[in-house]
Amino acid sequence: MSATLLEVRNLHTVFHAEKGAFAAVNDVSFSVGRGEILGLVGESGSGKSVTGLSIMGLIDPPGEIVAGEILFKGEDLRRKSASEMRLLRGDRIAMIFQDPLMTLNPVLRIGEQMTEAITEHAAIHRAEALRRAAEALAQVGIPSPEARLRGYPHELSGGMRQRVAIAIAMLNKPDLIIADEPTTALDVTIQAQILYEMQRLVRASGTSMIWITHDLGVIAGLADRVAVMYAGRIVETGTVDEILDSPRHPYTQGLLRSVPSANRPGDRLAQIEGMSPSLAARPPGCAFHPRCPRALDICRHDDPAPTAVDSRRSWRCHNPAPAGVAVPA
């Protein structure tokens, strides 16, 4: 069994608008190993969510995947038919969203939704499916699981709903879970609980995970490896220590420096100037150059290709920051 579970190569996903096609994901390549947690970091407009949806095959018009390969256990997901993808989804690859109500149907009982997720992919009696569902709820720390199965999503708090969504994702013991900002809308103490549950489950079952977020603190605590996205491209990848202790791309550095804990209390925060570009108005050359403190002339017209140290450590920059300069913690 190969150690690489998922390999994305040169993925291009565009959205068709009246003025033309805009690339939300613009030549993105990365891999996720078995049992590994990859943090996909970026802000709005970076393409991180669209990347997750592309892997799941959930891109609908006006969006379209126009190029690239998504190799899951060696097979290209793009070549699969819609019904094949439907079999995979929820079984081998599962997704968790920021709003648990995107996973949970508000008008169906929780038990129904969970048993449906099970019976869709295996011929199992309803009674057995219910038993597994109750067990899954208990595993994510939901008290009185049997009672919860009879209830509806709106009877639960936001944190509880997210736990149910996680339980559903884990039901069929998938190989890969894609989590798109699942804790962003939750309170600090509840977020900690969810992170704890996810970490525990993933460690116990060896599931791989892609955790999509803009929160570097969560990535630091949870991820093994990190990929940083900007304007539809991956601008830097590496292990979590490499990225956080020795960021090479100026955007990664800028993000790390602008976090309050990286600045002395009371000082002006080190900020990145300007705003993320809109998909339609992508600057020529390197998309980050208008905001980059290290921009050179070449950056204005030449979009940098990845500089790879090895297959798992790379960055796209003509003028990367010096190595080993830790951002003050």
Partner: protein, 336 residues
């Protein structure tokens, strides 16, 4: 009335806010027939004393349902307390004569959380920022366009944006417009209710810096409400932690983060993910955040507190001084 140089700009005393769902006609009829009416009361703010001094930044931290947003709105004069008193510049804000009342309402301005809902989608920017100047005649009509332009510049927006509509701006820009709207009436204090929570990380830093610049330039006072402890630590002089409608701890910022006293504060600090902590094992405290509809008895935190004693279930601990300038509400402090 204190004559000290650091007199409180705004002072909340024993302030409470209750939300009660009034029984509707059907329930009233049933009551006549003998069925008792269920009163659903939410004690959003349950007895808060808070004095904010001129020029100071007070951070207010808590999770959903703790009442921090409600408290902020009372301070800004948008909501009236059900009990207790608010004093602005030493005078109770209820029963103020109209010009002084207006001076208070305009003097404490709120910056809202949702950049998409806090601007009227049908108004152009110049109206959003300048309307108050027209309506309250705060400046002669011919000067108002200039005042609007200056407010826009002060928050880092181009003058040409004055004719645009909110939907044409990004979240960060909309927040700036909201700040310009507040600044146009020359307030003394800003109540910021999670002003950057809905923004991207790189934009958050820009807005925080804007707040800090404004503080220096205009000598503004802030009540900064946020769930983001890292942010609050960075910007605040003093920090208050709220839980289920009450302040459970209050301290100068540095001391609070160096040695948190209340178990809830300790849990909050322990649980914030931070960049320095790699591949950690999360060890959260158990339990759900209680609903203000159904608060626990005694100390509201006791069901989740790792140090709970039998006393905590029956008696709510009062806020007591644990060190000069520091207060905390925990029975553990009584022991010593």
């Amino acid at each position: 009335m204190s004559e000290a140089a650091t007199a409180a700009l705004i002072e909340l005393s024993a302030v409470r806010k209750r939300f009660e769902r009034r029984p509707d006609v059907a329930e009233r009829l049933l009551a006549l027939a003998g069925r008792p009416i269920e009163r659903r009361v939410v004690r959003a703010v349950d007895g808060v004393d808070l004095a904010i001094h001129r020029g100071e930044v007070v951070g207010l931290v808590g999770e959903s349902g703790c009442g921090k947003s409600t408290l902020g709105r009372m301070a800004a004069g948008i909501l009236a307390p059900t009990a207790g008193e608010i004093r602005y510049r030493g005078r109770a804000v209820t029963n103020l004569p109209p010009p002084d009342r207006m001076s208070y309402v305009l003097g404490v301005q709120m910056i809202f959380q949702d950049p998409y809902a806090s601007l009227n989608p049908r108004h152009p920017v110049r109206r959003i920022v300048g309307e108050a100047l027209h309506v309250h005649r705060l400046a002669p009509s011919r000067e108002i366009p200039e005042r609007v332009d200056r407010a826009l510049e002060e928050v880092g927006l181009d003058r040409s944006y004055r004719s645009r509509y909110p939907h044409q701006f990004s979240g960060g820009q909309r927040q700036r417009i909201g700040i310009a709207r507040a600044l146009a009436v020359e307030p003394e204090m800003l109540v910021c209710d999670e002003p950057v929570a809905a923004l991207d990380v790189s934009i958050q830093a820009q807005i925080i810096n804007l707040f800090m610049d404004l503080r220096e330039r205009r000598g503004l006072t802030y009540l900064f409400i946020s769930h983001d402890l890292g942010l609050v630590r960075h910007i605040s002089d003093r920090v208050a932690i709220m839980y289920l409608g009450r302040i459970v701890e209050m301290s100068p910022a540095a001391e609070l983060f160096a040695s948190p006293n209340h178990p809830y504060t300790q849990a909050l600090l322990a649980e914030i993910p931070s960049v320095g902590r790699r591949r950690r094992t999360f060890r959260p405290i158990q339990g759900e955040i209680p609903s203000p509809l159904n608060p626990p008895s005694g100390c509201a935190f006791h069901p989740r507190c790792p140090h709970a004693m039998p006393l905590c279930r029956t008696e709510a601990p009062p806020l007591a001084a644990i060190a000069p300038g520091r207060i905390s509400a925990c029975h553990l402090n009584d022991a010593t």
